[in-house]
């Protein structure tokens, strides 16, 4: 299979989108080459043009997208300018696609089997009963158990991972020579992600299919591909052998990426040392604050060293059963206990459905627990009576949420958003509040010119900074970050993590850090609580969890961090 002729050659390819009278260039003179049977990866942040490049190859540019120049040679023939029917002939049979979001890429109205069968029929692989039989084989091959029954089901009866397997079966149905895998697992839980990628690797190896893997995760790219193409703002900034790029990146952008990618950074001892310094300073500042609180009557709390103690916290949700009259009690959080020490960070790690966000909501008082206690600085939150006392408690705990596009009211200016908590608690005069907002913006490194802006005009990372500023407005002691960096691009993510660390050291904050991504934990947390199915699996200091995990599940999570086996340069 290792022919000497390239399977796909992209030369000087430019792709643009028309917006009004302008043409915006999404891909700018990009080059890449794939040989038969080879796996290469295109790495880049959102907006880097990596997906557009892939869609151009298969002739599926959305909307006003056009190839502006350059060649796409597939098996020696230029296809960038060929007719629709020629590209149609290539799709499926020569170039397959595994799309990004398994939830939206299957037609909800057709059975999964018939959607795969379509691909077989359209490419002349098989028809009728033979095709039905082949569909089951393909689903089995993609690692879907009980394939015969599954083929007769609809997409909504599948989990995300199962859908992605169906999409892989679909992409490989007509045995293409090239498979484009566009962030094939980004929407899935980490452990599922690893399983599916392993399976895809093995399958494409056996079949000798070349893979163009598109991903934002440098660690994952390096682990799965032998050739990397790094894209930045529409251009290929660096390409070459994966190991060489990782060990000695040359372009400044690649250097940044290699330095900051959390899956790689988590292995570095330097991040452990940096964290230790932050903690030392934060604990010291926090202790000073605590002694003040302990001696003051007006302050809320008693100045204890465990600022939050969670005892046997449980939450039941009532679900509809299989029959309309049946009700099933489902324990989303089951007997969870942990402590958060003043000036430190406790990370709660788990996959979707582990109950980690439900814990966060209960600690924040957004959701009443079914049983168990949340004790804030010696006071049992459930026993606090009276509006004034409850408002005092609110001041001490503030959230930063995941989705930077939903965490700020789009109709409030940045100033109004940050001022809202101050106004709700009647803090200061109008002038004082404005000074405070300026001060807060400065703390999160945003220029005061953004005060009159609206969230729609800011990027994800900027909004997250505003959300942090709002959370800090009332000078809380605890900030609860619910997947606060999960939706951000790699470099922005690193920046926000740094900001959180700096603020912790300066203000003596305590963080409860909820995340699905173990990779970021090492840079921010001191203690880790691993949750699965509503229960705590393992709780230990961060070093212990990484170096000496006691539970299989923790080990599985650690293994799923991509790029763990790669040797890095200095």
């Amino acid at each position: 299979m290792n022919g000497t002729h390239p399977l796909l050659e992209v030369k000087d390819l430019s792709v643009g989108f028309r917006a009004g009278k302008q043409t915006l260039t999404a891909v700018d003179h990009a080059n890449l080459t794939i040989y038969p049977g080879q796996t290469i990866a295109i790495v880049g942040e959102s907006g880097s043009g990596k997906s557009t490049l892939a869609h151009a190859v298969i002739g599926l540019l959305p909307g006003s997208g056009r190839v502006l120049g350059g060649d796409i040679r597939f098996d020696g023939a230029d296809i960038s300018q060929s007719s629709r029917s020629k590209i149609l002939a290539l799709r499926g049979s020569s170039i397959g696609l595994v799309p990004q979001d398994p939830m939206s890429n299957l037609n909800p109205l057709w059975k999964v089997g018939s959607q795969i069968k379509e691909a077989l029929v359209a490419n002349g692989v098989a028809t009728g009963a033979a095709a039905d039989k082949r569909v089951v084989e393909l689903l089995e091959e993609a690692g879907l158990p009980d394939a015969e029954r599954r083929a007769r089901q609809y997409p909504h009866e599948f989990s995300g991972g199962m859908r992605q397997r169906a999409l892989i079966a679909m992409g490989l149905a007509a045995r293409p020579k090239l498979l484009i895998a566009d962030e094939p697992t980004s929407a899935l839980d980490v452990t599922v992600q690893k399983q599916i990628l392993d399976h895809l690797d093995q399958l494409t190896d056996t079949l000798g299919v070349a893979v163009m893997l598109i991903t934002h995760d440098l660690g994952l790219a390096a682990e799965r591909a032998d050739h990397l193409v790094v894209m930045y703002r529409g251009r290929v900034v660096e390409s070459g052998p994966a190991r060489a790029i990782l060990q000695a990146p040359e372009h400044p952008y690649t250097k940044r990426l290699v330095a900051k990618a959390p899956s790689l950074a988590s292995q570095r001892l330097s991040s452990v040392r940096a964290r230790a310094e932050v903690r030392e300073q934060a604990v010291q500042t926090a202790a000073e604050i605590a002694s003040e609180i302990a001696h003051s009557e007006a302050e809320f709390g008693e100045g204890r060293s465990d600022i939050i103690v969670v005892e046997n916290l449980t939450k039941f949700f009532t679900l509809r059963g299989a029959k309309p009259w049946q009700k099933v009690d489902f324990a989303a959080v089951d007997d969870v206990s942990f402590r958060l020490r003043r000036g430190t960070t406790t990370a709660i790690v788990g996959e979707s459905g582990s109950g980690k966000s439900t814990v966060a909501r209960m600690v924040l008082g957004l959701l009443p627990p079914s049983s168990g206690n949340v004790i804030f600085d010696g006071k049992n939150v459930g026993e606090i009576k009276g509006k004034a006392e409850r408002l005092k408690l609110r001041r001490q705990m503030q959230p930063v949420f995941q989705n930077p596009y939903a965490s700020l009211d789009p109709l409030y200016s940045i100033y109004q958003s940050i001022e809202e908590p101050l106004r709700t608690h009647d803090v200061g005069t109008k002038k004082e509040r404005e000074a405070r907002v300026r001060d807060l913006l400065d703390k999160v490194s945003l220029p005061t010119t953004v005060m009159s802006r609206y969230p729609g005009e800011l990027s994800g990372g900027q909004r997250q900074r505003v959300a942090i500023a709002r959370a800090l407005a009332l000078e809380p002691e605890v900030v609860i970050c619910d997947e606060a960096v999960s939706a951000l691009d790699v470099l922005v993510q690193a920046q926000i993590l740094e900001l959180l660390n700096d603020l912790q050291a300066e203000l003596g904050l305590s963080y409860l850090f909820i995340t699905h991504d173990l990779a970021v934990v090492r840079q921010i947390a001191d203690n880790v609580v691993v949750m699965q199915d509503g229960k705590i699996v393992e709780a230990a200091p961060v070093m212990e969890v990484f170096d000496n995990p006691r539970q299989d599940y923790t080990r599985k999570l650690l293994d799923a961090i991509p790029g763990a086996s790669i040797e890095l340069g200095a």
Partner: protein, 308 residues
């Protein structure tokens, strides 16, 4: 699936009873002698008066009257018209024409509306799309009876293609023109909804995936764009049955179609409020049942619904 059907059936019952109760309460807002309201504004003898009072339970408290009203509606006993004819007989006489007319209108609305809407949606912002948009906006803006009159004038009077009015001995061809007029009001909305739905689906992720499989464009459109676009359109056409019935009152009046709408119009003209309410009650009942059917059809079209 069967749970869904059962649930929907159970949900229909309170809506059904609620609608009838509202109509009953509205009827109570009338002033004047309740007996005269039911017998026509002419003097009646004491015996007739007693008979009417007994038939309509006028001496019972209002909640008992309401109970009898609802019970009457469920058993299809709607009382009598001024002339003493049971309203049910009137309905039996007139309803078949209306059903025929409505089915024809629905077919025209669905077939033309979906076809034009699909073409417009597939070539968004093209010439066809723009003209369809303009025409549909105009059709929404002009009251149905004006459209009716103009069509009657042009095709019935001036061109003489059909008879301008239908009358007692109706045939299917006679109903074509009224059916077109009846369809027009909804037709514009059907076009627009289909267009939006098709255009939205065209850019859906799963359509791109279908293309990537190597399917021919027309297969993609047929299996993945059209099929998915039809789900909201079918629901909409179902909801529109309501305005179709209201439209029937007007269309049947214009073309003198001997249907239930025309009967309602005559009752309005003669101030027979009780008969009007009786006919409307019947139409509402039909509408509620039809909505139920459409919801079930929806479940057939969209597998996700069946498991809710």
């Amino acid at each position: 699936m069967w749970w869904y059907v059962g649930k929907r059936l159970l949900q229909t019952i309170p809506v059904f009873i609620g609608a009838v109760v509202i109509l009953f309460l509205l009827l109570q807002l009338r002033q004047g002698d309740p007996v005269l309201n039911l017998a026509g504004n002419k003097p009646v003898s004491q015996e007739v008066r007693d008979a009417i009072a007994a038939q309509y339970h006028l001496d019972d408290p209002w909640y008992a009257q309401m109970f009898y009203f609802v019970k009457g509606a469920i058993t299809l006993d709607f009382g009598n018209t001024f002339s003493g004819q049971p309203v049910l007989d009137l309905i039996k006489e007139t309803f078949p024409v209306t059903v025929t007319l409505a089915v024809m209108a629905l077919a025209i609305d669905a077939i033309l509306g979906i076809a034009i809407g699909t073409l417009a949606g597939l070539n968004r912002n093209g010439i066809f799309d723009s003209s369809a948009l303009v025409v549909s906006l105009l059709l929404i803006s002009i009251p149905i009876f004006v459209v009716g009159f103009v069509m009657q004038l042009v095709f019935g009077v001036k061109l003489g293609w059909t008879s301008p009015t239908v009358g007692g001995d109706w045939t299917i061809p006679d109903l074509i023109l009224p059916a077109i007029v009846l369809a027009i009001a909804n037709f514009a909305y059907t076009i627009r909804l289909t267009r939006t739905s098709v255009a939205e689906n065209l850019s859906a992720d799963h359509v791109r995936t279908a293309r990537a499989k190597g399917l021919a464009e027309w297969v993609v459109v047929r299996n993945h764009v059209l099929r998915n676009s039809l789900v909201p359109v079918v629901t909409y056409i179902g909801i529109n049955l309501g305005s179709l019935m209201a439209g029937a009152v007007i269309t049947e009046t214009i073309f003198n179609v001997p249907g239930i709408g025309n009967a309602a119009y005559k009752a309005i003209q003669q101030g027979e409020t009780a008969t009007v309410v009786a006919i409307v009650t019947f139409m509402v009942m039909v509408y509620v049942l039809m909505s139920l059917l459409v919801d079930l059809l929806y479940a057939v079209l969209d597998p996700r619904i069946r498991y809710v």
